[in-house]
């Protein structure tokens, strides 16, 4: 008889299993599944206690996926296109918690555009992931607003309209963290997720996540094949938690690496690839996206970061106790005050 292998745990004393969700009901091979797996790993690696995360989503295949990770976290799978508002309100309940939102390209770029843009401009502290497949998966293969001009889909004809570029939209709305990745590039997705989870404010991740059932033709810009053939990473990204920082110094030769210090003391290391890219310049990011569009690349990596802006909830100067744990004496003004108030009327 063999003794069972000891279960591996992280610094929070939890095993990988403590981060899992229900079995996925998405199609086999769906990009969304790999993203869910990377979320599990990233949270495990970061030693996040699942109870300290809230999950949000809209409606769509992508929006189902919060059920498939972090079963021990509170979550709300809301309305199509309205994750932004639901999450915005919920963020005030207990500001010690972190939030992950999962949306689809239809959910965010079509019906949810307005809410998305406004959540971003308020710098709401949330990791906002768009699982972008250029198509409506759950309703069976109509064009989403990120579909490329000229895409042909069964029953739908040819798309005529310019695609929405989620990263461009986030930048235009003054997002403080903008990244693009590809579900086929698991390592990058994971490291970006870790950085996003440590970010101070809204972190928008536009992850190309192929829909194997409705939009995976080789020449479609949201397919696995196209993504693999056209991915052009800006850098090799690694995330160094606050505590590990010192150990990892010196691993890289001078000048080959750019360090970005996060608000929480951790560091994002960006290893230079072909060219050096400075993600702290918004102008750079615009330029990069503009040339991406002209050249038809899938540029991935951290496009823009700014750790210095106050987050939405910070602007409110809230009490330290989570609001949702306040009780009567804190919430109802004292009895004496009512007379003063009445005296203020005429």
């Amino acid at each position: 008889m063999t003794t069972p292998a000891p279960v591996q745990t992280n610094k929070a004393g939890l095993s990988k299993n403590d981060y899992r969700g229900l079995p996925s009901t998405l199609c086999q091979g769906c990009g969304h599944n790999s993203i869910a797996n990377q979320i599990i790993t990233a949270c495990y690696d970061l030693n996040i206690v699942p109870e300290e995360i809230m999950k949000f989503s809209g409606i769509g295949c992508s929006s189902k996926s919060p059920a498939y990770f972090l079963n021990r976290s509170f979550g709300f799978n809301g309305l199509h296109g309205r994750m932004s508002s639901l999450a915005t309100g919920a963020l005030f309940a207990d500001t010690t918690l972190r939030a992950i939102g999962i949306s689809g390209d239809g959910d965010t770029a079509s019906i949810g555009m307005g809410g998305f843009k406004h959540m971003v401009r308020r710098n709401a502290p949330i990791v906002y992931i768009v699982e972008n497949n250029g198509v409506y998966g759950l309703t069976k293969g109509q064009f989403s607003a990120t579909a490329e001009v000229g895409l042909n889909l069964k029953h739908q004809g040819t798309n005529q309209y310019m695609p929405v570029d989620i990263c461009m939209e986030a930048l235009a709305s003054n997002a403080t963290f903008v990244a693009r990745s590809f579900a086929g590039d698991a390592k990058q997705v994971k490291e970006l997720l870790k950085a996003a989870l440590s970010h101070h404010g809204v972190a928008v991740l536009d992850i190309i996540s192929p829909c194997v059932t409705f939009n995976n033709q080789e020449d479609a810009t949201h397919s696995y094949t196209w993504g693999k053939d056209h991915e052009a990473p800006l850098h090799e990204i690694s995330f160094i938690p606050a505590l590990d920082e010192i150990e990892l110094q010196g691993e890289f030769a001078e000048g080959t690496v750019r360090e970005v210090s996060m608000h929480d003391g951790s560091t994002v290391l960006l290893k230079k690839l072909e060219k050096d890219y400075d993600p702290t310049s918004r102008a750079n990011a615009f330029q990069m996206l503009e040339s991406t569009q002209l050249n038809n690349w899938l540029v991935t990596g951290l496009l823009y970061i700014n750790e210095s802006k106050p987050t939405l909830t910070e602007t409110f100067n809230l009490v330290d106790t989570p609001l949702n744990r306040l009780a009567d004496p804190d919430l109802r003004p004292a009895r004496e005050t009512i007379e003063k108030i009445n005296a203020m009327m005429f």
Binding site: V49, P50, E51, E52, M54, K55, P66, A67, N71, R72, S73, F74, G75, F76, N77, G78, L79, R82, S84, S85, L86, A87, T88, G89, A90, L91, F92, A93, D94, T96, L97, G114, G115, H118, T313, F316, N317, L318, V319, D320, P322, L323, N324, R325, L326, A327, D328, D330, L331, R332, P333, R335, T337, I338, I341, N342, M345, F346
Partner: protein, 597 residues
């Protein structure tokens, strides 16, 4: 001059929007109130910032009737555009004051006519030209005060209140008023019968508007989160939160126990409020009809996922954009049936400013108690006008937080509970909120089909059972919502049902009906839906029930017919809607006309 009429007439003042006449008008209103005379003031203003005609109508009533009246005994006009119409509106025997720079024909000999040298006195006031229009308004205050007998001391008190004690503003305005009053003493000879005299019928009352009251009520109800989007006539509700929350709900070190957020639209506003409600915050949004329409989808999510949230609808007249600055009670059926699929919503119907305060906190209690959206339907008349009201009463029950389980509770239960389980037989399940660290606390909220443990399912029976529980919960709501206010009448066979801002008109109509030898009539003021047992009993008791409403379709009648089909044959609509508050006369006549049939 006919016999003197004291403390019983209406004054209407016609000015130009954006000219600052509001200060003058509320000053008059408040002065009358301070003289102890029951009053009401209603602002009939255009959807415009500057330049269009606007009216303010004040009723003084020794008998305490404060509904709007159609008849105008005293009319003041500063507006050439509305001059002819204003002149025509004076009741025979009444008084007409006008700015003497308007040179238009006055072909009426059945009224007293008083020119006022408004422009001239404004110019004499020695203020910057920008302020002249504004000062002009103080001229009519002074002249009216003098001609009606309003105590200048009370006017000073009103000014002092308005200008928050700022001496300079008070003095400069008062000087003009005084000068104008003096001018009137010397130049006008009173030939109309209308005047006021000190009484003692307003002590124990304050003056306030419903939106301020609602905001204050919510604050005393422990409101923690509000999201809103500007819309007339609801904006001042949220704006009052911004005024009073910092005064009442900051900690000693200046930190906030609340957050108020102006959203990008109403869809987002209600979504944020629902997110906060799900998160365990006492949460609300406030809007008017167009916003309610936009909230339809989200309202269904709150109903079905069972999230507490309060939605104030300060109604204006619709459909569509309608007349954004005119009042109506036209959103009742929409709010009741709001959202697709099976549902009925809980609706509170405040009938006075004080009740706006009371329902401000009660709505939050009910929402958390019932884990459901609670609508509160006020209207422009109630929300934006100044009313005499009983002072706000400190809530008499502690905050009702509903069935929320925290770590210690789950400990006791060994972590065994079901988010959508009817453990207590009242249809209301338990819930937990984020931040609860117990390992069995978390659940996954959704608008899709779910079982007792909030797990996704498409099972037919589970769906149906859960929907039946929601219906049961609605029946529980029936026992919890505010009961109606009933005014019985011995031997009555006829009942009247009304709600909201029409109460003063109905109260007065009861008196008029009595005078006119109409039927003996009992009166029920409905304060909520679902319809409580008391309301049902009332309906069963009378042969005929008149349902008085400020809408075209008799919307409460429609709902009550659906709810009480056995009683529906009794219902008669007395409804009408033109943007103005109902008058007692109209109510009386609407009822008499049908009685005679």
């Amino acid at each position: 001059m006919s016999e003197k009429v004291i403390n019983d007439f209406s004054v209407t003042i016609a000015t130009v929007n954006g000219s600052g006449s509001q200060t003058a008008n509320v000053t008059l209103l408040r002065a009358l109130f301070k003289m102890g005379i029951p009053v009401s003031g209603k602002n009939l203003f255009p959807s415009n910032i500057q330049g269009l005609p606007t009216w303010y109508t004040i009723r003084v009533s020794k008998d305490g009737f404060v509904a709007r009246r159609d008849e105008q005994e005293v009319v003041v006009t500063l507006n050439p555009v509305s001059f002819a119409r204003d002149l025509a509106s004076v009741r025979p025997g009444g008084a007409f004051f006008y700015a003497d720079d308007i040179r238009l024909p006055i072909a009426r000999s059945d009224i007293s006519v008083y020119p006022m040298p408004v422009k001239q006195m404004a110019r004499a006031a020695n203020v910057s030209p920008a302020l002249r229009d504004y000062i002009a308004n103080m001229v009519y205050v002074g002249i009216l005060a003098q001609m009606l007998g309003i105590d200048l001391e009370t006017i000073k008190q009103a000014l002092s209140f308005h200008f928050k004690g700022k001496a300079q503003a008070i003095d400069s305005n008062f000087t003009t008023i005084k000068t104008a009053a003096d001018w009137a003493t010397q130049n006008l000879k009173k030939s109309d019968p209308y005047s006021v005299a000190q009484m003692d019928s307003t002590s124990g009352f304050v003056m306030a508007d419903g939106n301020t009251a609602a905001a204050l009520g919510a604050i005393y109800g422990g409101l923690q989160f509000a999201a809103w989007y500007p819309i007339t006539p609801a904006s001042t509700l949220a704006e009052s939160l911004n005024v009073f929350l910092p005064q009442l709900r900051k900690t000693t070190d200046g930190k906030q126990t609340y957050a108020v957020l102006q959203a990008e639209d109403e869809l987002a506003a209600v979504g944020m409020a629902i997110g906060a409600g799900w998160g365990g915050l006492r949460s609300m949004t406030s809007t008017s009809g167009p916003g309610i329409s936009l909230m339809a989808e989200y309202a269904g999510l709150a109903y079905y996922a069972e999230v507490p949230v309060v939605i104030w609808d300060v109604q204006r007249i619709g459909p569509s954009t309608g007349l954004p600055t005119r009042t109506a009670q036209g959103d009742l059926t929409e709010a009741y049936f709001l959202s697709h699929g099976d549902k009925q919503n809980i609706i509170l119907l405040p009938g006075s400013v004080q009740e706006c305060f009371e329902f401000g906190w009660k709505a939050l209690d009910l929402a958390e108690h019932l884990q459901a959206p609670v609508f509160v339907l006020s209207d422009l008349d109630l929300g934006m006008n100044q009313w005499m009201t009983k002072p706000f009463e400190y809530p008499d029950t502690p905050l009702e937080r509903g069935k929320v389980l925290w770590e210690a509770d789950l400990e006791k239960l060994n972590g065994v509970w079901g988010r959508y389980k009817d453990s207590d037989g009242d249809g209301i399940p338990f819930r937990t909120v984020p931040g609860n660290k117990h390992p069995s606390a978390a659940w996954f909220g959704r608008g899709t089909g779910h079982d007792e443990n909030a797990r996704y399912t498409e099972d037919a029976n589970t769906w149906e059972n859960n929907m039946a529980r929601l219906k049961k919960k609605y029946d529980t709501a029936r026992t919890l919502v505010p009961k109606p206010v009933i005014k019985a009448a011995k031997g009555a066979t006829v009942g009247i049902i009304a709600y909201g801002s029409t109460e003063p008109a109905v109260e007065e109509a009861l008196a008029l009906l009595k005078q006119a030898g109409g039927p003996k009539t009992a009166f029920l003021r409905l304060r909520a839906l679902p319809c409580t047992a008391e309301a049902q009993d009332f309906i069963k008791k009378y042969e005929r029930i008149y349902i008085v409403e400020a809408n075209r379709d008799g919307q409460l009648r429609q709902i009550l017919s659906a709810v009480l089909p056995d009683q529906a044959h009794k219902f008669r609509s007395a409804c009408h809607s033109d943007g103005l508050p109902l008058t007692a006369k109209w109510v009386k006549e609407a009822i008499l006309a049908q009685e005679e049939k």
